[in-house]
Symmetry: none
Subunit: 147 residues, 2 copies
DNA sequence: TTGCAAATGAAAATTGTTTCTATTTATTAC
DNA sequence: GTAATAAATAGAAACAATTTTCATTTGCAA
């Protein structure tokens, strides 16, 4: 694995540092996506004196090199995830407990068709977020509003 | 028109101030969308001492009241525009010229089913936004990246 | 017209992200 | 292996968009 990461980095003319390896491992282990701060917190377990700018810089370099993907969520923050040729998916966000669950669902194909045929434009990316109550919070059924 | 705006504001229990009228007029005149700062600059022509927080506050209140719509551009800034379509719908946002087009498409039903049956949760709302290039910008095909 | 809650301006705070700079480190040529 | 050097890093500071705070002003219901 480390060898594979090394060759990826080499391909971008980036040096293979322990931090970059760790960052790639973290993203590779995650099935969802992570904010720079999420990545930072995970990496800090290993590198006590890691700076947040280092995380931002590396995430952005790897994104530019097409090794990881970036999404911009409606919360206006950046999120990154490892590029797998796996099914693109979206997240269900519980507005009560803030848990996030993956949804193996994407309307991308339909949207693309609609945009290409209807508007005659081109789709570059899309943002989909579903807000609701997860099973536990549905039971608790507290006075939770959608915001 | 002013009367119409007055009734809209009344419906939200918001007072009819000269600033709110001007703000609504500006958004109503625009066929695309505007950033809070865009709105601020246009309003300053009329109100010399207008504060930017006032613009942010009002845009957000009107958005919450469903009088104006909000989109989040890939540049991570907020943009607002006047709601003309009553149906629930989604947005196609041209990342090049900033035009917004309504898409009469919603995958809400499928998502709902998936969430209820799969996760056993409840959907409260969803946000779907498609970023891309509109027909004109596809033709121009400039060096525009999804950024 | 008056009283009061709502709206506002100005300044300051916050948040997420980026830049700067001195120091450290991975790689390359020997 | 080792030295030279260009890239990578930490830490501090800068930044930009947005939000909060609070004292003052204003719309509007009584």
């Amino acid at each position: 694995m480390e060898l594979y990461f090394h060759s990826l980095l080499k391909g971008l003319n980036l040096k293979t540092t322990p931090r970059r390896i760790a960052l790639l491992e973290i993203l590779d282990d995650e099935q969802g996506y992570l904010s720079p701060e999420d990545v930072w917190m995970r990496m800090k377990r290993k590198f006590r004196s890691l700076g947040l700018p280092t995380v931002y810089r590396n995430l952005e370099e790897l994104h530019e090199g097409n090794i990881i993907s970036r999404v911009i969520h409606p919360d206006r923050k950046l999120y990154y995830y490892f590029c797998r040729n796996e099914e693109h998916h979206h997240h269900f966000v519980c507005v009560s407990c803030r848990r996030v669950e993956d949804l193996n669902f994407c309307a991308g194909r339909e949207m693309e068709k609609l945009v290409v045929e209807g508007i005659r434009g081109r789709v570059l990316s899309h943002i989909l977020q579903i807000n609701g109550l997860c099973s536990e919070c549905v039971l608790k059924e507290g006075a939770v509003s959608d915001e």
